[in-house]
């Protein structure tokens, strides 16, 4: 990894390097980290290495700013979890948090300095209507006004349209399974819900192995590679933490992925964690996971695609053809979750919608 532009990754792999960075290095590192949504994480690394007092102040202002924003998000998440627990608790349904929200409530080290955009929860399909109704009465409203979008979500997705709280402005994704019903792989949400872990009264996360498998599935099937590096870092962080703190974690991991029909994304997750971040994964696990490895040609293609897409979306990090790799993966992820005849019209519509509704603001001098 001597490639000059890959500084962010170098620092994440070897945080002790932080103490030896030149100002020119910081000038490259801060924008890279900002684009990868890893500024807060970088600050967490700095704290962990106890380097706050020795590093130059100017770049630290940027990492600190993002870190403070993540702290605020964590506090907000805890507050939202409390509110959601009350809503679901009134229906005698457990609150099951997924992804970032789960990392925060379970106080996993991977959550430190991490930013999140919404809270994700998992509810069984047969209680979905009740939950939606109850949340509605507590101020959660659908943020999709467009009936095409609403129908698209309800027919083809594993979640209902995102909800937004009318007074607090927070976003909530309610999932009823972990992959769309049309996807190639068919994990059984009931099995996942049968294994959840309580982290505080009536608040649950997935079991450690399921958390890793879900995170892998999310990354390798959602097509959201803008934050690919951050997601790989999450996975790496989960693996390290559970390896040290969960007896039997490695033994259970691959068999569970096979049971859930999700060995393929788990294979990719382990493979790229090792390749990109040098995660220490026991040999027997890697061997077991080979079951999810695609054929040689496909492996080569995927390596080419992922190694490019997982770089932060910043010009100083691009290998040739990065944006092609990114869009190919976007198509791949849609192919994995929808039959082809559905895919084509949806992609065109989505591209068109995106152009129309580009989420940009008016430049203004006033309050944001």
């Amino acid at each position: 990894m001597s490639d000059q532009s890959y500084l962010l990754l170098e620092v994440i792999r070897a945080p002790e390097r932080l103490a030896r960075l030149s100002m020119a290095d910081w000038n490259r590192l801060i924008p890279q980290a900002r684009h990868a949504l890893l500024l807060g994480k970088l600050h967490a690394l700095i704290l962990e290495q106890d380097l706050l007092k020795v590093l130059p102040e100017k770049p630290l202002n940027h990492t600190l700013s993002a870190y403070l924003a993540s702290e605020k998000q964590h506090a907000t998440t805890a507050w939202e979890a409390l509110k959601l627990e009350r809503a679901l608790g009134s229906l005698e349904i457990p609150l099951v948090l997924l992804k970032g929200g789960a990392y925060i409530q379970a106080k996993l080290p991977v959550s430190t300095g991490r930013l999140l955009s919404d809270i994700d929860i998992l509810v069984t399909r047969d209680r979905l209507d009740e939950v939606e109704e109850n949340l509605h009465s507590r101020g959660w409203r659908s943020s999709k006004q467009d009936s095409y979008d609403d129908r698209y979500y309800r027919e083809w997705m594993h979640e209902i349209p995102p909800l937004k709280h009318i007074t607090r402005g927070s976003f909530l994704d309610v999932h009823h399974t972990i992959l769309p019903p049309t996807a190639k792989y068919k994990p059984d949400a009931e099995k996942i819900l049968a294994d959840i872990r309580e982290v505080s009264p009536n608040v649950y996360t997935l079991s450690p192995v399921d958390m890793v498998i879900h995170s892998a599935t999310h990354l390798f099937h959602e097509g959201d590679f803008d934050h690919g590096l951050r997601d790989i870092i999450d996975l790496h962080g989960l693996l390290i933490h559970f390896s040290d703190n969960e007896p039997g974690f490695w033994e259970a991991l691959v068999p569970r992925a096979i049971e859930l029909d999700l060995i393929n994304p788990l294979y990719y997750a382990l493979h790229y964690c090792q390749l990109i971040l040098g995660s220490e994964i026991p040999d027997f696990v890697l061997k077991q996971a080979e079951k999810g490895k695609p054929n040689a040609l496909m492996s080569g293609v995927m390596d080419w695609l992922f190694m490019r897409a997982l770089r932060p979306d910043h010009p100083s990090c691009d290998l040739p053809f990065t944006s092609l790799a990114r869009s190919l993966l976007y198509i791949r992820s849609h192919y994995l979750r929808m039959p082809l005849h559905l895919l084509i019209p949806h992609l065109t519509r989505k591209a068109w919608k995106r152009r129309v509704a580009e989420n940009k603001q008016e430049a203004t001098a006033g309050l944001p």
């Binding site: 605020k72 506090a75 907000t76 805890a78 507050w79 409390l82």
Partner: protein
């Protein structure tokens, strides 16, 4: 019904001699407490208490008579604080 302040969330009170500001770390809200809410919150910070003695305490602090009007006012104040999760009941 014993009333208490949920211990996980920090409360900071600040006054410059006129009214009292309250920062509620859980929600991140900053509120202006009314004159009867201040002794109520301050008393509960020392430990849980039932509603009746709590209202009596407030009345004594402020030299009010505990009549129907006072009690209905305090019920309103209390329900506002509970709605914002500053005070809880067990």
């Amino acid at each position: 019904m014993s009333l208490y302040i949920p211990p996980d969330f920090e409360l900071i009170l600040k006054s410059y001699g006129n009214e009292t500001l309250l920062f509620h770390s859980a929600s991140g809200d900053t509120l202006l407490l009314g004159p009867t809410a201040v002794p109520l919150v301050q008393r509960l910070r020392q430990g849980p208490l039932d509603k009746q003695p709590l209202f009596d305490h407030v009345a004594e602090e402020l030299n009010y008579e505990v009549d129907d009007e006072f009690i209905s006012h305090m019920e309103e104040v209390l329900s506002g604080l509970m709605k914002r999760d500053i005070v809880a009941a067990q």
